[in-house]
């Protein structure tokens, strides 16, 4: 077997050192009734690299890939162009096959990357500090809600109606078990976010207000107004960013007053990957540092006085604090953080702004073209690269009909909100710098056909 170096001669030499007659004897502690004496029946035997590759290639071919057709999906996962350098760097064995950097003398590579990543995230979000990543945006969102409850010693969270429904569901799942009270509502297909409605829900028992920016329909809420209202009642504003490229053109949530900013980093460097692994981003005010979930990398010096980096403040974490930890998280998204960081380094601030401008430009062209189709109405007044349209019929079926024509034409709101009849005609459309004029024409033409 190609991954196993021991030969039979090695095995017998080693068994004599160990004092056992066979490998099976080493499993003597397993009760006999549970000891399997042969490979489990009904499962295939080992296979060559060529055979496995062929099988997986066949599965891979049985999909419509985003890059092969006009593609307009977003709703929390975005397809931006990723420079070849990113994948090359994350495949360096020294990054790919390293462990969590618990031995800093021989992990300065990973640690310096994490320190740079934390700085990049903090600057992008406009927060004082950031952590070394969490699993994804949805779990980061819940971690922020839990952190706000620890800080404010209140457990009532207001979730704005524009928060991605999967983020809502993830939080709702956790809140059922922690006893936190969540105020949840669904969005309506109107041009602007109803910030006044969110503000009206904040009272003296509110721990935090969770506002997505831009929101799930692509609309852009007035974070500064909500921040001021929340803070006046002693609550925290948690801003959620599912499309970080937007911050190349929009003011950062931190600069608008958000206390905690979390997000999904997938759009930069990570790719679509059918939903995972993704990258949870987490930034906040410096005064909350001891309440942050997950790993933190900090600067220090070594015994010779040279600058170096270590994982720090680990007294918050599970391997030290056990049941008193700020979170149970252990493994995070290290390699995705590296991918994000390499892509962000290649972009730089000016490059990010350019990518954001192009994405916005393509979205705008798409919206203008679709608005010409009879029965199609663009909902949003403001948006970055994603907007909602209403159709004259159920958008779920339209999406399926478009896919039959080899067009991936957006995410139906019916899929995201199956219980809300009023949203069933809604369709979310996203564009990025990858979207071409031909893509836009193809979508418009096919949509005209499907709606005809």
């Amino acid at each position: 077997m190609r991954y196993l170096p021991l030969t039979d001669a090695d095995r017998s030499a080693m068994l004599s050192v160990v004092g056992a007659g066979s490998i099976d004897e080493l499993f003597a502690d397993v009760p006999e009734h549970a000891r399997l004496t042969a490979p489990i029946a009904g499962l295939p035997q080992h296979a060559s690299e060529m055979a496995v590759e062929r099988h997986m290639a066949r599965l891979s071919a049985d999909n419509i890939t985003a890059g092969s057709v006009p593609f307009f999906l977003g709703a929390g996962a975005y397809r931006h162009h990723i420079p070849a350098t990113v994948d090359h760097m994350i495949q360096r064995g020294e990054f790919l096959t390293a462990y969590t950097p618990y031995q800093p003398e021989i992990a300065q590579g990973t640690l310096q990357v994490l320190f740079e990543f934390q700085t990049q995230v903090a600057r992008l979000f406009g927060t004082d500090i950031a952590n070394a990543s969490l699993y994804d945006g949805s779990t980061a969102c819940w971690e922020a809600i839990a952190m706000a409850a620890r800080i404010t010693r209140r457990n009532k969270a207001v979730l704005s109606c524009g928060l991605h429904p999967h983020y809502v569901e993830t939080s709702r799942t956790m809140a059922k078990f922690t006893g936190d009270e969540l105020d949840i509502s669904e969005p309506a297909l109107i041009a602007d976010t109803d910030d006044a409605a969110v503000i009206a829900k904040i009272d003296g028992e509110t721990s935090c207000v969770v506002v997505q920016y831009p929101d799930v329909l692509g609309r852009i809420p007035d974070l500064a107004a909500i921040a001021a209202a929340a803070q006046a009642k002693g609550a925290l504003l948690i801003a959620v960013v599912t499309e970080p490229v937007a911050l190349g053109l929009l003011e950062s949530p931190g600069s608008l007053g958000a206390d905690i900013v979390v997000g999904e980093g997938q759009a930069i460097g990570v790719g679509l990957q059918f939903g995972g692994p993704y990258l949870g981003l987490f930034g906040c005010r410096e005064k909350f540092v001891r309440q942050i979930p997950g790993r933190l990398c900090g600067e220090t010096v070594d015994a010779d006085g040279k600058r170096g980096f270590v994982l720090t403040l680990s007294t918050r974490e599970q391997h030290i604090r056990r049941e008193k930890a700020t979170s149970n998280i252990c493994t995070n998204s290290g390699l995705c953080a590296l991918a994000f960081s390499v892509h962000m380094t290649l972009l730089g601030g000016a490059g990010l702004a350019k990518m954001a401008r192009l994405s916005h430009h393509r979205a705008r062209k798409t919206a203008e073209r679709l608005a010409q189709i009879p029965g199609v109405t663009v909902v949003n007044r403001h948006y970055f690269n994603e907007f909602a349209v209403t159709l004259p019929k159920d958008a779920r079926q339209v999406v399926r009909d478009l896919a039959d024509r080899k067009i991936l034409g957006g995410v139906s709101l019916g899929r995201l909100y199956p219980q809300v009849e009023a949203l069933s005609t809604g369709l979310l459309i996203a564009a990025t710098e990858c979207t071409t004029d031909d893509d836009i024409s193809a979508l418009a033409t096919a949509l005209e056909e499907v709606l005809a």
Partner: protein, 518 residues
């Protein structure tokens, strides 16, 4: 000047003192290269990406929050970027470089086929919310892995979406909680053995339970008498790691499971060490109700410097109805159905909710599936066999120079546990671990499990050769002798790494978590 010996081989010079005295202008030492921070070498107007210039952009649709200038993020050109990260990478130890004997972490070789497979466009370039008809191959891959996991563990179902081991633990406990609440019998306590991973009590607390510790016996296993005595109507379940963190098989797990079930509770098994028994023991046969499987351990998806992982949870018949959304089901016509919120009320009405957005760690599923298919049912059995053989070989090659607290009791499983008993006054496990760095190895897991003083947990894995282990054992023997003799040089090790011991107290006292321009 040393003489050249007759064989033509230059005898090794005693260069230690000379090496330390040589100073270079750059701080580099030949191939050991220093690298400045991105923020010291980059600038926001530099970029390694070209974009089309578009002049007719109308930004009015952005509204009042449009930003005034570009974000303050330094950029680098492509050659500078490649060099920056390549130089940083060389300051890391990795499995690709040598033995990485980190106990409980399972640092085994990561096959490159798996990397290639994960990047196939049908897995890497598909959106999680594409219509189901357009992602049948991707869903098939998930379903195929799910079937393997269920069969390998002898369980009833599997929740695929948890994103890492700790997230899987949470998923398992939430299933237990949902099952108890459905019976109208909510309970408050989860029992956790002292030797458990820190994630176990942290997870139980996160899921709203009170944690009570169960002691270990002198032979390194859960104290069955203490555990069964504590069972009662307030105990929701137990969390047991098997094989446990002392590298031992919990012989009495079935007895424990029967007692827990009789008391109305459930058994959560921490499957972090499933790699030791895969293909040889099915946890379902031991009465387990839920167990997470770290795909990044047992099924060798890369650790990536701290993730991403993946922690699917296999479930017993009693818990499977409560598993989270979404999941896949193969239909009679061979197509794969995705059960998510839309259909859940019909097909999976008791689901406790959702662990995360979308479908979990696809990129890890495809890697793990390629690994599993490569080994097959027969190969996986050899995997666990060789992993356990390698660990026992290390144990018996070192137990005359290092204290092995459970060595006399018999064979270990996939990892060998030693203590610092017998070291010279003032010498500790940490010193030996840091000495390993100078020898060109990553240290073993230290000071864990907590039940052994100065614990050193060595997990070689099945992907180490005998010759490679012999050299590692030689290094360990040498270090053990030095620790026992009180070699002062060991106290300040490592001497030869890119950095010497780092001041962790300073880092925690005055946290500097982001770069600030002076």
């Amino acid at each position: 000047m040393n003489e050249i010996n007759p064989s033509g081989w230059r005898p090794a010079m005693n260069t230690t003192s000379i090496v330390q005295e040589i100073e270079t202008f750059t701080g580099n030492r030949a191939l050991q290269l220093e690298e400045a921070l991105l923020f010291e070498i980059g600038s926001p107007d530099r970029s390694g990406v070209d974009f089309d210039e578009v002049t007719d952009i109308d930004l009015s649709a952005l509204g009042p929050n449009a930003r005034k200038g570009a974000p303050n993020l330094p950029g680098l050109s492509e050659p500078e970027t490649v060099r920056h990260y390549t130089r940083l990478s060389r300051q890391n130890y990795a499995i690709d470089l040598g033995v990485f004997p980190l106990g409980s972490c399972t640092m085994k070789h990561n096959p490159r086929l798996d990397e290639k497979v994960a990047r196939m466009p049908g897995f890497a370039d598909v959106h999680p919310l594409q219509p189901v008809q357009s992602v049948q191959g991707a869903l098939s891959a998930i379903n195929e892995l799910a079937v393997w996991l269920v069969k390998l563990t002898g369980m009833h179902g599997v929740a695929m979406t948890p994103k890492a081991g700790a997230h899987g633990e949470l998923c398992g406990l939430l299933c237990i909680r949902a099952a108890l609440e459905a019976k109208g019998d909510p309970r408050e306590v989860i029992l956790v053995p002292e030797s458990a991973h820190g994630t176990n009590p942290a997870t139980a607390a996160f899921a709203g339970y009170r944690v009570e510790n169960i002691p270990a016996t002198a032979d390194g296993r859960v104290d069955v008498t203490a555990l069964t005595a504590r069972l009662g109507p307030d105990v929701a379940g137990v969390m047991i790691t098997n094989p446990n963190t002392c590298g031992l098989f919990e012989r009495d797990l079935k007895v424990i499971a029967d007692a827990v079930h009789a008391a109305g509770g459930y058994v959560y098994c921490d499957g972090a060490n499933f790699n030791a028994i895969v293909g040889r023991v099915r946890p379902g046969d031991l009465g387990v109700d839920a167990m997470h499987i770290n795909l990044h351990k047992t099924f060798s998806t890369p650790h990536g410097g701290g993730g991403p992982g993946s922690g699917p949870v296999v479930l017993s018949e009693a818990l499977a109805p409560y598993g989270p959304l979404p999941f896949t089901a193969r239909q009679a016509d061979g197509s794969i159905k995705l059960i998510e919120e839309e259909d859940a009320y019909l097909e999976h009405p008791h689901a406790f909710g959702r662990m995360c957005a979308f479908h979990g760690q696809m990129g890890m599923y495809t890697r793990a599936l390629a690994y599993i298919l490569s080994h097959g049912a027969d190969g996986l059995r050899q995997v666990s066999g060789d992993a356990v053989l390698n660990a026992n070989y290390v144990l018996r090659s070192l137990d005359d120079v290092l204290d092995a607290p459970f060595g006399p009791a018999g064979h270990c499983m996939h990892e060998a546990l030693f203590s610092d008993d017998g070291f010279a006054e003032g010498f500790s496990t940490l010193d030996l671990a840091k000495g390993l760095i100078d020898e060109g190895y990553h240290p073993m897991t230290v000071y864990f499990p907590l039940v052994v003083h100065g614990a050193m947990l060595v997990e070689p894995t099945e992907t180490e050769s005998k010759a490679g282990l012999d050299q590692f054992i030689g290094a360990m023997r040498s270090l053990a002798e030095r620790a026992k003799a009180g070699d002062e040089m060991l106290k300040s090790a490592p001497h030869l790494a890119p950095r010497r011991r780092l001041d962790e107290t300073l880092a925690a006292r005055k946290p500097k978590l982001v770069y600030k321009e002076v």
